[in-house]
């Protein structure tokens, strides 16, 4: 309701409860409409309201300022529906063999795998120096800021930036994908490590354990299940990113096939086939990842 409140009765009633017994409604307050207030006063409710209003306002501004270039909306939608039908209901493979596609899918899978392995390896080391409870606070802040910057750059831009000197190929793709994985995993690993109880680490410190002993005896065992779960989740993301990067940067794999089918040959049937292959692969990965998460827990 409203945030402005007028006290219903004297303030003394609130401090001294015994005087309050006979008056029925002395703890109740009124809102600006003169009705009894029922909502809790909290910063968080206010923040939520402000946020929702701002999001609506920004979205409205967005739609008003977009340059629609006098598009014929009805026509475009009809064409879209027709294309959706072609892609999803009439998939066909014309320019490649099933084996060829399977191989390209495997390439994408391997690109994602390499990026995950490298990303996890570097992130594991880096997160040890960036978790506040086991590292120096200043070092943690510096590394965290650096990682935040790396994470803010879209994966495809990393790939394109590295492609300038390394050439467009698997090296650029892997390095580009690794960068974002590394930054993401460092953040989530560090957060898992920071959740370890202070007592565990203190006890080891009191026993004279050094940094690496603490890491091996407390940090790794306590966070292993989280680390495994996050790493697999990242692998799913990396697979999807590898598809996207293949399409947008031409970095190989099934994404590149998609790009060729969609933007070079304009073959919607083939695009449909490739899409189904990717979707099935993603679903299989999701199932495996869920299984692994339940086993690790």
């Amino acid at each position: 309701m409203s945030e402005v409140v007028i006290k219903y009765e004297n303030a003394a009633g609130k401090q001294n409860n015994t005087t309050c017994q006979d008056s029925i409604t002395c703890n109740l307050e009124k809102n600006i409409f003169g009705k009894i207030r029922i909502a809790a006063h909290s910063k968080s409710n206010l923040a939520i309201k402000i946020l929702i209003i701002s999001l609506i306002a920004i979205s409205t501004i967005a739609f008003l300022t977009f340059d629609y270039k006098e598009i014929n909306f009805a026509e475009a939608i009809m064409a879209t529906l027709h294309n959706v039908k072609t892609v999803f209901l009439e998939p066909a493979l014309r320019r490649d063999t099933v084996m060829g596609v399977a191989y390209q899918l495997f390439v994408t899978f391997c690109l994602g795998m390499l990026a995950t392995i490298f990303g996890a390896l570097f992130a594991l080391i880096c997160s040890l120096f960036c978790a506040k409870n086991i590292s120096h606070p200043a070092a943690a802040t510096v590394i965290k800021s650096f990682v935040a910057v790396v994470r803010a750059v879209p994966t495809v831009l990393w790939v394109l930036i590295f492609a300038v000197s390394a050439g467009l190929g698997s090296v650029a793709a892997v390095i580009g994908l690794t960068f974002h994985s590394f930054a993401y995993l460092t953040k989530v690993y560090a957060e898992s490590i920071e959740e370890i109880g202070a007592g565990t680490i203190e006890a080891l410190r009191a026993n004279g354990a050094n940094f690496w002993q603490i890491v091996c005896q407390a940090v790794i065992p306590a966070t292993l299940s989280y680390i495994v779960a996050w790493t697999f989740m990242r692998f799913e993301i990396n697979f999807a990113n590898a598809v996207a990067v293949g399409a947008a940067a031409g970095a190989g794999g099934i994404g590149y096939n998609l790009y060729m089918a969609g933007s070079m040959y304009f073959d919607l049937h083939e695009m449909g086939f490739l899409t189904y292959v990717v979707v099935i692969a993603v679903i299989i990965l999701e199932v495996i990842s869920t299984k692994i998460k339940t086993i690790v827990r």
């Binding site: 967005a62 390499l114 392995i117 994470r151 930036i161 590295f162 892997v174 990717v278 979707v279």
Partner: protein, 264 residues
């Protein structure tokens, strides 16, 4: 006892060894398939890093383009907020029928879950290329492509959130004789609002990055600008685009972190 301990340690050793060797095997296999050579990677890295430091920095020409870059960046930011806001509302309505908590009809329930899974798993690049045919180089191409994948992602998350957070209070409101709409507004929304907003904020951030990628494919927004400078080898201007994206994403990340703390 001693023997037990030994076998535990041995088992652990064997487990570590198995994990380590299977990762190594995967690495070797992947390297062969993708023709990735570690030496090339290691060699390329310092070279690339020094190239970035020396050549990938904004030059004087880049700054003359700053207003244009800001213009496109603002467009991308507005796009990702608008997409996420609308997808949040639509996904929430869908998730009400996809959650088990609210006991919607079995077929409807399955249909919603299947739809969400479909939109989530079809890569956004496919949507982008598909929509390019009908909408052309239009902002709506990016809008719809992002909308579809955001919608799929959020619907699944919201279904999980509702089933996790709201089931208790939904049962209680059901027991008071409240109807569906009352249960949603008085029970589901208040109990999940924090989680919904956290997801929406996260998606705004993600969508700015995705919008860049889709922009490259569909020749719209900030992604197009980067791609254009990049292909013309005007790396100074391209680097300024990257810096602007980084600043925007970090600002949004900080705002959402602060908000998350306040609304919890």
């Amino acid at each position: 006892m001693v023997k037990d301990k030994q076998t535990i340690f041995q088992k652990r050793k064997i487990a570590y060894f198995t994990v380590f060797s299977s990762i190594l095997a995967l690495y070797i296999l992947s390297s062969i398939v993708t023709e990735f050579k570690l030496t090339d990677g290691v060699m390329a890295f310092p070279e690339a890093a020094s190239w970035i430091v020396h050549k990938f920095v904004p030059d004087a020409k880049a700054f003359t383009r700053f207003p244009k870059i800001m213009d496109r960046l603002l467009e991308t930011a507005l796009l990702s907020v608008a997409v996420t806001s609308i997808a949040t509302v639509v996904a929430f309505i869908f998730s009400l029928f996809g959650s088990r908590t609210l006991k919607s009809h079995g077929i409807l329930n399955q249909a919603v879950r299947m739809t969400a899974a479909f939109f989530r798993n079809v890569p956004d690049v496919v949507w982008a290329m598909l929509l390019m045919f009908s909408f052309g180089q239009n902002i709506l191409t990016g809008f719809l492509a992002l909308f579809f994948s955001t919608f799929g992602m959020l619907t699944r998350s919201f279904i999980e959130t509702i089933d996790e957070v709201s089931s208790a209070c939904v049962e209680a409101l059901d027991a008071t004789g409240a109807n569906f709409a009352q249960i949603v507004f008085q029970g589901v929304i208040p109990s999940t609002v924090t989680a919904l907003i956290t997801w929406a904020l996260y998606m705004i951030e993600t969508n700015i990055r995705s919008a860049t990628l889709i922009g490259i494919l569909t020749a719209t927004g900030i992604g197009y600008l980067f791609d254009m400078y990049y292909k013309r080898l005007e790396f100074g201007s391209a680097s300024l685009v990257v810096i602007c994206i980084v600043v925007l994403v970090i600002i949004i990340e900080n705002i959402s972190n602060k908000l998350r703390k306040v609304i919890s």
